[in-house]
C-alpha cells in the first residue's frame, strides 16, 4: 500500500509539473511543429515571461496568478515584432539560418536580461507556498502547483481551440501544408505567421509566469526548457498541438517516476533517451497522426 501511494504521489506531481511543460510544448508545437520554425529562443522567451511576471509582482504588487496575463501580452508583442522584423526576411531560406537567428536572439535576450537585472537569482515567496492539499494521510498536493495546473489546463484548451477551430488557426495550418497555395486562397501569410508566432511565444510566457511562484529565476533559467520543448514536439508528433500537450504530461510523469525509482540524476537523461528513440524508431511521434 505504501508503495502504491508513493507511486500515485509521484504520478500526481508529474501531472502537475507536466501541465506546465505542456504549455511550453504547445507553444513550441505551434511554432516548430506547425510553422516549421526551429525556435531555439523558446526557453529564453519563457525566461522573459518570468521576469515580466516578477517585475509586475515587485513593482505593482500584482499576484503572479494574474501577472501571467501581462507576461502573455508582452511576450505576444515581442514574438510578433521578432517575427516581423527578423524572422520574416529569412523565411524560405535554409533551416540553419533560422536556427542561428533564434539561437542568437535567445542569447541576446539572456544577456540583455543579465545586463539589466544582473545574474543574481530572484524568487517570490507567496504565503500560498506553504499550503498543501491533503488527500487522506498519504497524498499531498501543493497549492501553487494545483493553481498553475488549473490555469494551464484552461489555456491549453484555449490554444487547442485556437489552432484547430478558428480561422486564424486554420490559416496557420494551411500555410504549413503549402506555403504557395495558401496565399492563393486569400490568406495573408505574413500576418497569420506573425500572429501565430506571437501566440506560440505567449504560451511560453504564460508557462514562465506560472512557474515563477514555485521556482526561481535567473537569466539562463530557460535553457533547459528549450530542449524539453523540442523533446515534447517530437514525442507528440510534429504539428500536433494535442500531441505536444500529452507529451508534456508524459514527460512530467516519466521524470517523476524515474526520479522515484532510479534517482533524480537519471531524470534528465531519460528525456533525451525518449527523444532519440522516438526520432529513430517513430519519427512521426507517439501521439496522433502525422497531421498538420
Amino acid at each position: 500500500m505504501e508503495r502504491f501511494f508513493s507511486a500515485l504521489q509521484a504520478i500526481l506531481n508529474g501531472v502537475l509539473t507536466g501541465s506546465l511543460y505542456a504549455l511550453i510544448g504547445m507553444g513550441m508545437a505551434l511554432i516548430f511543429g506547425v510553422m516549421r520554425i526551429v525556435n531555439f529562443a523558446h526557453g529564453a522567451f519563457m525566461m522573459v515571461g518570468m521576469y515580466v511576471t516578477y517585475l509586475l509582482f515587485q513593482g505593482a504588487g500584482l499576484n503572479p496568478y494574474f501577472g501571467f496575463i501581462g507576461s502573455a501580452m508582452f511576450l505576444f508583442l515581442l514574438g510578433y515584432l521578432f517575427y516581423r522584423g527578423l524572422l520574416k526576411p529569412i523565411r524560405g531560406r535554409s533551416d540553419f539560418m533560422q536556427i542561428l537567428l533564434t539561437l542568437g536572439f535567445g542569447l541576446i535576450l539572456t544577456d540583455g536580461i543579465q545586463l539589466l537585472f544582473g545574474a543574481d537569482y530572484h524568487q517570490i515567496n507567496l504565503p500560498l507556498l506553504g499550503k498543501n492539499l491533503r488527500l487522506g494521510s498519504q497524498i499531498s498536493l501543493n497549492a501553487p502547483w494545483l493553481i498553475s495546473f488549473g490555469i494551464a489546463l484552461m489555456l491549453g484548451a484555449l490554444l487547442y481551440f485556437f489552432v484547430m477551430h478558428t480561422m486564424l488557426g486554420r490559416a496557420a495550418r494551411a500555410i504549413a501544408q503549402n506555403r504557395y497555395a495558401a496565399p492563393l486562397m486569400g490568406i495573408n501569410v505574413d500576418r497569420v505567421q506573425a500572429l501565430s508566432f506571437g501566440i506560440g511565444v505567449a504560451a511560453a510566457g504564460v508557462a514562465g509566469g506560472l512557474l515563477l511562484p514555485v521556482f526561481y529565476l535567473y537569466p539562463t533559467v530557460g535553457d533547459q526548457f528549450t530542449l524539453k520543448a523540442f523533446v515534447m514536439v517530437v514525442l507528440g508528433g510534429m504539428g500536433s498541438i494535442q500531441g505536444a500537450a500529452m507529451a508534456g504530461l508524459v514527460l512530467g510523469v516519466v521524470e517523476n517516476l524515474t526520479s522515484l525509482y532510479w534517482g533524480n540524476e537519471w531524470a534528465l537523461a531519460v528525456d533525451f533517451v525518449i527523444f532519440l528513440s522516438v526520432l529513430s524508431l517513430r519519427p512521426s511521434g507517439i501521439f496522433g497522426s502525422q497531421r498538420v
Partner: protein, 404 residues
C-alpha cells in the same frame, strides 16, 4: 519527409546549443609599474553568483585595508577579476587570460569545487601559485601539485565534525545523503559515507541530483520511504531552498537535517526573499566562521560588510577576505612578485592571529581550520557545537512539519 528533415535539424541544433560558446567577461586593468596585480577567478554571474558576490565583497574589504595601509612593496594593490560564469571551462580560460595576458604572479579562486578542481592543472602547468578560499571538495588538494594552497576546511573535516556532533546528540543510527552531482556534492557525499561507516551510522540512502531542476519531490519521497533519522545535504543555495520547501510538501520528517554548509550556510538561506525562509528553521550546517566567532576582528569585519552591502556576511566572504590578506602577506615576505618566490613564502607563511583564526599551511598546502556546527534558530545561524564555542543549545529532534 519534411518533418523528418526538420527534426534532424533540431538534433543538430541541440548539439550547437550544447557547445554554444560565450566569451568570458573580465575587467582589464591598466598594466602599470607602480601597481601589483592579483588575479582573482570567481563566479560573478551564473547560478553561483550569490557566492561570487560574497567573494567580491570580501576581497574589496581586504583590498581597502591593504591600500589604506600603503599597499604592498610600496605599490598599490589591484585585483584583476575574471568571471567564470559558474562554468569550469571559463575558469580554465581565466587562468590563461590572467597569467598570459595580465601577468599576475598569483591567483585566488575559484568559487566552487568544480571550477577550482578544473584550474589546478592549468596553474600547475603555468607555475603560478593558487590560493583557494572556498573549495571544500578534498580532491582539489589531492593532485600533488606544489602550487596549490587552501584556506578553508574540506569535505573530510565537514563530515567528521557532523558525525562527532551527532554522536554527542543521541547517536542516531540511520542517515540519508542527498547531494548535488558535481565535485562539491560528490566529494562531500563520499567523505560522509566514510565518516558515517566509521561511526557506526548506517547510510540507508544516497541520492544525487542535478541542481537547477524545479522538482525534487520524487527524490524526497524516496528518502522518506527509507525513513532515516538524519539527512546530510551537500547543496548550493538555489537547490537548498527548493529542497527544504519541497521537504515540507512531501512531509519528510527526519530528526536531524544536517548539511555540508554552502547553500545551507549562505547568508541568504534563512531569508524569505532569497532563500527557504521559515523552512530553513532547525536545519544544522557546518560552518567555518560567523560574525560572532571568537577570533579578533570578526565583529569589525561584520560591521564593514554590513556597511558595504546592508547584510551580514557568511563564511564565504571572510574566506575571500583572508585569502587576499594571506596572499599579500606572502608577497611581502617574498619581497618580490616572482610566482616561485611567492609560492615559497606561502609555504613558510605563519599568521597566528587573523580574523579567521591562525593561518598556516601544512606540507600539502592545507590550512588546518576548525569547523563549527550551526543551527538556524529564529532565522539566525547560532553556533551549537563544539561546546566551547556554542552560543545556543541545539533544538532536537526537529519538530515535524505539521507541528511547526
Amino acid at each position: 519527409m519534411r518533418s523528418a528533415h526538420a527534426s534532424s535539424a533540431a538534433v543538430l541544433a541541440c548539439a550547437l546549443a550544447l557547445t554554444g560558446c560565450q566569451g568570458g567577461v573580465s575587467q582589464k586593468g591598466e598594466g602599470s609599474r607602480n601597481k601589483i596585480k592579483i588575479g582573482t577567478i570567481t563566479s560573478l554571474t551564473g547560478s553561483n553568483a550569490a557566492f561570487g558576490q560574497a567573494h567580491k565583497n570580501g576581497y574589496a574589504i581586504a583590498l581597502d585595508e591593504l591600500n589604506s595601509r600603503g599597499g604592498l612593496l610600496g605599490k598599490t594593490v589591484e585585483l584583476d577579476y575574471y568571471d567564470d560564469q559558474s562554468r569550469p571551462d571559463q575558469a580554465v580560460q581565466g587562468v590563461s587570460k590572467l597569467v598570459d595576458l595580465d601577468n599576475v604572479p598569483i591567483i585566488l579562486g575559484a568559487y566552487s569545487s568544480e571550477n577550482t578542481r578544473a584550474i589546478v592543472p592549468a596553474v600547475t602547468q603555468k607555475q603560478v601559485p593558487l590560493l583557494m578560499p572556498t573549495a571544500t571538495a578534498d580532491n582539489v588538494m589531492e593532485t600533488g601539485s606544489p602550487w596549490t594552497f587552501r584556506i578553508c576546511a574540506g569535505s573530510g573535516a565537514y563530515a567528521t565534525a557532523t558525525v562527532a556532533f551527532l554522536k554527542g546528540m543521541g547517536a542516531p543510527k540511520t542517515m540519508a545523503i542527498i547531494y548535488e552531482n558535481t565535485n562539491f556534492g560528490q566529494s562531500n557525499a563520499q567523505a560522509m559515507q566514510a565518516a558515517a561507516k566509521q561511526a557506526g551510522i548506517e547510510v540507508v540512502d544516497t541520492e544525487a541530483y542535478q541542481a537547477s531542476t524545479p522538482d525534487y519531490k520524487a527524490l524526497l519521497q524516496r528518502v522518506k520511504a527509507r525513513s532515516p533519522a538524519v539527512i546530510y545535504f551537500a547543496s548550493y543555495l538555489l537547490d537548498a531552498s527548493t529542497l527544504m520547501r519541497q521537504a515540507e510538501q512531501v512531509g519528510l520528517n527526519p530528526a536531524y537535517y544536517t548539511s555540508a554548509g554552502t547553500g545551507f550556510a549562505a547568508a541568504e538561506f534563512p531569508t524569505p526573499d532569497k532563500g527557504a525562509g521559515r523552512n530553513a528553521e532547525y536545519t544544522f550546517s557546518v560552518s567555518q566562521w560567523l560574525p560572532s566567532a571568537k577570533w579578533k576582528g570578526s565583529k569589525e569585519f561584520d560591521d564593514k560588510y554590513v556597511q558595504r552591502t546592508g547584510s551580514h556576511p557568511a563564511y564565504h566572504a571572510i574566506e575571500a577576505y583572508i585569502t587576499l590578506l594571506a596572499a599579500a602577506e606572502a608577497i611581502k615576505k617574498a619581497n618580490s612578485t616572482d610566482p616561485k618566490a611567492i609560492r615559497d613564502a606561502l609555504k613558510q607563511l605563519d599568521m597566528p592571529e587573523t580574523t579567521f583564526g591562525p593561518i598556516r599551511f601544512d606540507p600539502k598546502g592545507q590550512n588546518q581550520h576548525p569547523v563549527l556546527i550551526t543551527q538556524v534558530q529564529g532565522g539566525q545561524y547560532k553556533v551549537v557545537w563544539p561546546a566551547d564555542a556554542a552560543e545556543s543549545k541545539p533544538i532536537i529532534p526537529t519538530p515535524p512539519w505539521t507541528k511547526r
